[in-house]
Symmetry: C2
Subunit: 152 residues, 2 copies
Amino acid sequence: MDSYDVMPGHLVRRLQQAAVAIFQAEVARAGYDMTPVQYAALTAVRVNPGIDQATLAGLIAYDRTTITGVVDRLAQKGFLTRKPSKTDRRARILQVTESGHKALREIQPAVEQAQHIMLRGLDDAESQEFMRLLAKTVGAVNELSRAPLKAI
Amino acid sequence: MDSYDVMPGHLVRRLQQAAVAIFQAEVARAGYDMTPVQYAALTAVRVNPGIDQATLAGLIAYDRTTITGVVDRLAQKGFLTRKPSKTDRRARILQVTESGHKALREIQPAVEQAQHIMLRGLDDAESQEFMRLLAKTVGAVNELSRAPLKAI
DNA sequence: TTCTATTGCTCAGTATACTGATTATCAGTA
DNA sequence: TACTGATAATCAGTATACTGAGCAATAGAA
Protein backbone atom coordinates (compact mmCIF):
# COMPACT_ATOMS: atom_id res chain seq x y z
CA MET A 1 0.00 0.00 0.00
CA ASP A 2 2.97 2.25 -0.64
CA SER A 3 1.42 3.68 -3.73
CA TYR A 4 -1.27 6.26 -2.96
CA ASP A 5 -2.67 6.02 -6.50
CA VAL A 6 -4.28 2.70 -5.60
CA MET A 7 -5.70 3.94 -2.33
CA PRO A 8 -9.43 4.64 -2.47
CA GLY A 9 -9.18 7.51 -0.01
CA HIS A 10 -6.64 9.32 -2.12
CA LEU A 11 -8.59 8.85 -5.33
CA VAL A 12 -11.81 10.01 -3.71
CA ARG A 13 -10.08 13.14 -2.47
CA ARG A 14 -8.84 13.93 -5.96
CA LEU A 15 -12.25 13.29 -7.52
CA GLN A 16 -13.90 15.50 -4.96
CA GLN A 17 -11.51 18.32 -5.74
CA ALA A 18 -12.05 17.98 -9.46
CA ALA A 19 -15.82 17.84 -8.92
CA VAL A 20 -15.79 21.11 -6.99
CA ALA A 21 -13.66 22.82 -9.62
CA ILE A 22 -15.89 21.58 -12.44
CA PHE A 23 -19.03 22.65 -10.62
CA GLN A 24 -17.78 26.15 -9.93
CA ALA A 25 -16.53 26.60 -13.48
CA GLU A 26 -19.86 25.57 -15.02
CA VAL A 27 -21.90 27.67 -12.61
CA ALA A 28 -19.64 30.66 -13.27
CA ARG A 29 -20.38 30.27 -16.97
CA ALA A 30 -24.05 30.69 -16.08
CA GLY A 31 -23.13 33.93 -14.32
CA TYR A 32 -23.32 32.75 -10.73
CA ASP A 33 -20.86 32.35 -7.87
CA MET A 34 -22.08 29.38 -5.86
CA THR A 35 -20.29 26.40 -4.34
CA PRO A 36 -21.61 22.83 -4.60
CA VAL A 37 -22.21 22.90 -0.87
CA GLN A 38 -24.29 26.06 -1.09
CA TYR A 39 -26.21 24.65 -4.04
CA ALA A 40 -27.09 21.43 -2.20
CA ALA A 41 -28.22 23.38 0.85
CA LEU A 42 -30.35 25.77 -1.18
CA THR A 43 -31.92 22.92 -3.14
CA ALA A 44 -32.75 21.05 0.06
CA VAL A 45 -34.47 24.13 1.47
CA ARG A 46 -36.47 24.53 -1.72
CA VAL A 47 -37.69 20.94 -1.45
CA ASN A 48 -38.40 21.38 2.28
CA PRO A 49 -39.56 24.96 2.85
CA GLY A 50 -39.59 26.02 6.49
CA ILE A 51 -36.98 23.46 7.50
CA ASP A 52 -34.69 24.31 10.41
CA GLN A 53 -30.90 24.26 10.20
CA ALA A 54 -30.33 21.06 12.15
CA THR A 55 -32.76 19.07 10.02
CA LEU A 56 -31.24 20.57 6.89
CA ALA A 57 -27.80 19.48 8.04
CA GLY A 58 -29.01 15.91 8.49
CA LEU A 59 -30.72 15.89 5.08
CA ILE A 60 -27.57 16.71 3.17
CA ALA A 61 -25.07 15.21 5.62
CA TYR A 62 -23.38 18.44 6.71
CA ASP A 63 -21.84 19.03 10.05
CA ARG A 64 -23.98 21.27 12.22
CA THR A 65 -21.18 23.77 12.67
CA THR A 66 -20.63 23.90 8.92
CA ILE A 67 -24.26 24.64 8.11
CA THR A 68 -24.15 27.89 10.08
CA GLY A 69 -21.60 29.44 7.75
CA VAL A 70 -23.21 28.04 4.61
CA VAL A 71 -26.60 29.46 5.55
CA ASP A 72 -24.93 32.75 6.51
CA ARG A 73 -23.45 33.14 3.05
CA LEU A 74 -26.66 32.12 1.26
CA ALA A 75 -28.60 34.61 3.33
CA GLN A 76 -26.03 37.30 2.64
CA LYS A 77 -26.46 36.69 -1.10
CA GLY A 78 -30.20 37.06 -0.62
CA PHE A 79 -30.97 33.50 -1.67
CA LEU A 80 -32.70 32.48 1.54
CA THR A 81 -34.16 33.92 4.73
CA ARG A 82 -33.56 32.75 8.29
CA LYS A 83 -36.27 33.51 10.84
CA PRO A 84 -36.81 32.33 14.40
CA SER A 85 -39.37 29.53 14.67
CA LYS A 86 -42.60 30.34 16.47
CA THR A 87 -42.93 26.89 17.96
CA ASP A 88 -39.29 26.40 19.01
CA ARG A 89 -37.39 29.50 19.90
CA ARG A 90 -34.04 27.72 19.51
CA ALA A 91 -34.65 26.90 15.85
CA ARG A 92 -34.20 29.06 12.74
CA ILE A 93 -36.67 28.51 9.93
CA LEU A 94 -35.28 28.67 6.39
CA GLN A 95 -37.06 29.77 3.22
CA VAL A 96 -35.78 30.22 -0.33
CA THR A 97 -36.33 33.77 -1.61
CA GLU A 98 -37.55 34.76 -5.08
CA SER A 99 -33.95 35.55 -5.95
CA GLY A 100 -32.94 32.12 -4.69
CA HIS A 101 -35.54 30.36 -6.82
CA LYS A 102 -34.37 32.33 -9.83
CA ALA A 103 -30.75 31.38 -9.19
CA LEU A 104 -31.61 27.70 -8.84
CA ARG A 105 -33.56 27.78 -12.12
CA GLU A 106 -30.77 29.53 -13.96
CA ILE A 107 -27.89 27.37 -12.81
CA GLN A 108 -29.78 24.08 -13.23
CA PRO A 109 -28.33 23.33 -16.69
CA ALA A 110 -24.83 24.14 -15.46
CA VAL A 111 -25.21 21.72 -12.58
CA GLU A 112 -26.31 18.90 -14.88
CA GLN A 113 -23.47 19.68 -17.23
CA ALA A 114 -21.02 19.57 -14.32
CA GLN A 115 -22.17 16.09 -13.30
CA HIS A 116 -21.76 14.99 -16.89
CA ILE A 117 -18.23 16.37 -17.17
CA MET A 118 -17.27 14.77 -13.90
CA LEU A 119 -18.08 11.33 -15.34
CA ARG A 120 -16.70 12.00 -18.78
CA GLY A 121 -14.14 9.20 -18.44
CA LEU A 122 -16.87 6.55 -18.27
CA ASP A 123 -19.33 5.30 -20.85
CA ASP A 124 -23.03 5.05 -19.99
CA ALA A 125 -22.90 1.54 -18.61
CA GLU A 126 -19.82 2.32 -16.54
CA SER A 127 -21.35 5.53 -15.21
CA GLN A 128 -24.40 3.65 -14.07
CA GLU A 129 -22.33 0.97 -12.38
CA PHE A 130 -20.03 3.55 -10.81
CA MET A 131 -22.97 5.43 -9.35
CA ARG A 132 -24.43 2.22 -7.99
CA LEU A 133 -21.20 1.22 -6.30
CA LEU A 134 -20.59 4.75 -5.05
CA ALA A 135 -24.04 4.93 -3.46
CA LYS A 136 -23.59 1.49 -1.93
CA THR A 137 -20.19 2.42 -0.50
CA VAL A 138 -21.45 5.68 0.95
CA GLY A 139 -24.46 3.97 2.48
CA ALA A 140 -22.25 1.47 4.28
CA VAL A 141 -20.08 4.12 5.93
CA ASN A 142 -22.76 6.72 6.61
CA GLU A 143 -22.69 6.26 10.35
CA LEU A 144 -18.90 6.56 10.53
CA SER A 145 -18.72 10.28 9.78
CA ARG A 146 -19.55 13.04 12.21
CA ALA A 147 -22.33 14.21 9.91
CA PRO A 148 -24.32 11.16 8.81
CA LEU A 149 -27.27 11.59 6.51
CA LYS A 150 -30.58 11.56 8.38
CA ALA A 151 -33.71 11.23 6.30
CA ILE A 152 -36.73 13.13 7.56
CA MET B 1 -31.62 16.31 -10.78
CA ASP B 2 -33.54 17.64 -7.83
CA SER B 3 -32.37 14.85 -5.63
CA TYR B 4 -28.80 15.25 -4.45
CA ASP B 5 -28.56 11.58 -3.46
CA VAL B 6 -28.21 10.66 -7.13
CA MET B 7 -25.65 13.35 -7.84
CA PRO B 8 -22.11 12.01 -8.11
CA GLY B 9 -20.59 15.18 -6.70
CA HIS B 10 -22.65 14.96 -3.55
CA LEU B 11 -21.92 11.27 -3.02
CA VAL B 12 -18.21 11.81 -3.56
CA ARG B 13 -18.19 14.58 -0.98
CA ARG B 14 -19.86 12.31 1.55
CA LEU B 15 -17.49 9.44 0.84
CA GLN B 16 -14.51 11.74 1.18
CA GLN B 17 -15.72 12.94 4.55
CA ALA B 18 -16.31 9.40 5.79
CA ALA B 19 -12.90 8.36 4.48
CA VAL B 20 -11.16 11.11 6.43
CA ALA B 21 -13.04 10.24 9.62
CA ILE B 22 -12.27 6.53 9.24
CA PHE B 23 -8.59 7.23 8.55
CA GLN B 24 -8.17 9.47 11.56
CA ALA B 25 -9.99 7.06 13.85
CA GLU B 26 -7.85 4.10 12.82
CA VAL B 27 -4.61 6.07 13.03
CA ALA B 28 -5.61 7.38 16.46
CA ARG B 29 -6.03 3.76 17.62
CA ALA B 30 -2.40 3.26 16.62
CA GLY B 31 -1.50 6.19 18.86
CA TYR B 32 -0.87 8.80 16.21
CA ASP B 33 -2.49 12.07 15.19
CA MET B 34 -2.06 12.34 11.43
CA THR B 35 -4.43 13.36 8.66
CA PRO B 36 -4.73 11.45 5.37
CA VAL B 37 -3.24 14.44 3.62
CA GLN B 38 -0.21 14.48 5.90
CA TYR B 39 0.20 10.73 5.52
CA ALA B 40 0.19 10.91 1.73
CA ALA B 41 2.73 13.72 1.75
CA LEU B 42 5.03 11.94 4.16
CA THR B 43 4.80 8.70 2.19
CA ALA B 44 5.62 10.51 -1.03
CA VAL B 45 8.70 12.07 0.54
CA ARG B 46 9.81 8.68 1.80
CA VAL B 47 9.56 7.24 -1.70
CA ASN B 48 11.31 10.30 -3.17
CA PRO B 49 13.88 11.54 -0.65
CA GLY B 50 15.21 15.01 -1.36
CA ILE B 51 12.16 16.04 -3.36
CA ASP B 52 11.20 19.73 -3.36
CA GLN B 53 7.77 21.00 -2.34
CA ALA B 54 6.52 21.83 -5.82
CA THR B 55 7.36 18.40 -7.19
CA LEU B 56 5.81 16.80 -4.13
CA ALA B 57 2.63 18.77 -4.71
CA GLY B 58 2.41 17.49 -8.28
CA LEU B 59 3.06 13.91 -7.21
CA ILE B 60 0.11 13.76 -4.86
CA ALA B 61 -2.08 16.35 -6.59
CA TYR B 62 -2.02 19.00 -3.91
CA ASP B 63 -2.29 22.66 -4.49
CA ARG B 64 1.05 24.42 -4.09
CA THR B 65 -0.36 26.74 -1.44
CA THR B 66 -1.75 23.79 0.50
CA ILE B 67 1.54 21.93 0.58
CA THR B 68 3.21 24.74 2.52
CA GLY B 69 0.97 24.25 5.53
CA VAL B 70 1.05 20.46 5.33
CA VAL B 71 4.85 20.42 5.28
CA ASP B 72 4.88 22.98 8.09
CA ARG B 73 2.87 20.71 10.34
CA LEU B 74 4.85 17.59 9.44
CA ALA B 75 8.06 19.45 10.17
CA GLN B 76 6.66 20.74 13.44
CA LYS B 77 5.87 17.17 14.48
CA GLY B 78 9.44 16.24 13.64
CA PHE B 79 8.47 13.84 10.87
CA LEU B 80 10.41 15.60 8.12
CA THR B 81 13.05 18.24 7.57
CA ARG B 82 12.97 21.14 5.12
CA LYS B 83 16.30 22.52 3.96
CA PRO B 84 17.21 24.95 1.20
CA SER B 85 18.48 23.27 -1.96
CA LYS B 86 22.11 23.83 -2.87
CA THR B 87 21.43 23.87 -6.59
CA ASP B 88 18.28 26.02 -6.54
CA ARG B 89 18.01 28.56 -3.79
CA ARG B 90 14.26 28.92 -4.36
CA ALA B 91 13.56 25.29 -3.54
CA ARG B 92 13.23 23.49 -0.19
CA ILE B 93 14.48 19.92 -0.05
CA LEU B 94 12.42 17.47 2.03
CA GLN B 95 13.64 14.43 3.94
CA VAL B 96 11.78 12.03 6.24
CA THR B 97 13.34 11.90 9.71
CA GLU B 98 13.90 8.79 11.81
CA SER B 99 10.81 9.70 13.78
CA GLY B 100 8.89 10.04 10.52
CA HIS B 101 9.98 6.61 9.32
CA LYS B 102 8.95 5.14 12.65
CA ALA B 103 5.54 6.78 12.46
CA LEU B 104 4.96 5.51 8.93
CA ARG B 105 5.88 1.98 9.97
CA GLU B 106 3.64 2.06 13.01
CA ILE B 107 0.53 3.44 11.36
CA GLN B 108 0.80 1.25 8.26
CA PRO B 109 -1.64 -1.41 9.51
CA ALA B 110 -4.13 1.29 10.55
CA VAL B 111 -3.99 2.81 7.07
CA GLU B 112 -4.70 -0.51 5.41
CA GLN B 113 -7.51 -1.17 7.84
CA ALA B 114 -8.99 2.25 7.06
CA GLN B 115 -9.07 1.53 3.34
CA HIS B 116 -10.78 -1.77 4.10
CA ILE B 117 -13.42 -0.17 6.29
CA MET B 118 -14.07 2.49 3.69
CA LEU B 119 -15.09 -0.20 1.20
CA ARG B 120 -16.92 -2.41 3.66
CA GLY B 121 -20.17 -2.03 1.73
CA LEU B 122 -18.74 -3.84 -1.30
CA ASP B 123 -17.71 -7.44 -1.84
CA ASP B 124 -14.31 -8.23 -3.36
CA ALA B 125 -15.45 -8.16 -6.97
CA GLU B 126 -17.34 -4.92 -6.45
CA SER B 127 -14.40 -3.31 -4.67
CA GLN B 128 -12.15 -4.14 -7.56
CA GLU B 129 -14.60 -2.78 -10.10
CA PHE B 130 -15.23 0.32 -8.01
CA MET B 131 -11.52 1.05 -7.79
CA ARG B 132 -11.14 0.58 -11.52
CA LEU B 133 -13.98 2.97 -12.33
CA LEU B 134 -12.82 5.46 -9.70
CA ALA B 135 -9.30 5.54 -11.12
CA LYS B 136 -10.65 5.89 -14.65
CA THR B 137 -12.94 8.75 -13.64
CA VAL B 138 -10.18 10.57 -11.79
CA GLY B 139 -7.81 10.16 -14.71
CA ALA B 140 -10.28 11.73 -17.09
CA VAL B 141 -10.76 14.89 -15.00
CA ASN B 142 -7.19 15.26 -13.75
CA GLU B 143 -6.49 18.36 -15.81
CA LEU B 144 -9.67 20.10 -14.67
CA SER B 145 -8.56 20.77 -11.12
CA ARG B 146 -6.14 23.43 -10.03
CA ALA B 147 -3.82 20.76 -8.69
CA PRO B 148 -3.54 18.02 -11.31
CA LEU B 149 -1.32 15.04 -10.66
CA LYS B 150 2.05 15.33 -12.36
CA ALA B 151 4.17 12.21 -12.51
CA ILE B 152 7.92 12.74 -12.22
C1' DT C 1 -43.75 20.65 38.48
C1' DT C 2 -38.98 20.40 38.93
C1' DC C 3 -34.90 18.25 37.44
C1' DT C 4 -32.18 16.26 33.95
C1' DA C 5 -30.99 15.17 29.51
C1' DT C 6 -31.26 16.58 25.03
C1' DT C 7 -31.46 19.67 21.28
C1' DG C 8 -30.64 24.02 18.12
C1' DC C 9 -27.41 27.13 17.30
C1' DT C 10 -23.11 29.49 17.71
C1' DC C 11 -18.19 30.29 18.63
C1' DA C 12 -13.05 29.48 18.96
C1' DG C 13 -9.54 26.96 17.05
C1' DT C 14 -7.34 23.78 13.54
C1' DA C 15 -6.70 21.62 8.84
C1' DT C 16 -7.48 21.25 4.12
C1' DA C 17 -8.34 23.66 -0.58
C1' DC C 18 -8.56 27.38 -3.36
C1' DT C 19 -7.84 32.56 -5.72
C1' DG C 20 -4.75 35.88 -6.54
C1' DA C 21 -0.65 38.36 -5.40
C1' DT C 22 4.35 38.95 -4.15
C1' DT C 23 9.26 37.92 -3.66
C1' DA C 24 13.32 35.65 -4.87
C1' DT C 25 15.47 33.02 -8.09
C1' DC C 26 16.42 30.66 -12.28
C1' DA C 27 16.58 29.70 -17.36
C1' DG C 28 16.59 30.92 -21.98
C1' DT C 29 17.09 34.45 -25.35
C1' DA C 30 18.41 38.66 -27.79
C1' DT D 1 25.25 40.30 -20.56
C1' DA D 2 20.77 42.28 -19.93
C1' DC D 3 16.06 41.10 -20.36
C1' DT D 4 12.00 38.38 -20.23
C1' DG D 5 9.40 34.76 -18.82
C1' DA D 6 8.85 31.02 -15.84
C1' DT D 7 9.25 28.82 -11.39
C1' DA D 8 9.53 27.86 -5.89
C1' DA D 9 7.68 29.30 -1.99
C1' DT D 10 4.85 32.11 0.73
C1' DC D 11 1.04 35.18 2.20
C1' DA D 12 -3.71 37.22 2.66
C1' DG D 13 -8.28 36.13 2.22
C1' DT D 14 -12.38 32.93 1.62
C1' DA D 15 -15.00 28.44 2.07
C1' DT D 16 -15.67 23.97 3.66
C1' DA D 17 -15.09 20.37 7.60
C1' DC D 18 -14.13 19.12 12.00
C1' DT D 19 -13.31 19.13 17.66
C1' DG D 20 -14.86 20.76 21.67
C1' DA D 21 -17.26 24.04 24.31
C1' DG D 22 -21.05 27.00 25.55
C1' DC D 23 -25.84 29.11 25.90
C1' DA D 24 -30.71 29.05 25.47
C1' DA D 25 -34.59 26.43 25.11
C1' DT D 26 -37.21 22.20 25.00
C1' DA D 27 -38.77 17.58 26.37
C1' DG D 28 -39.20 13.74 29.18
C1' DA D 29 -38.96 11.63 33.67
C1' DA D 30 -39.44 11.52 38.63
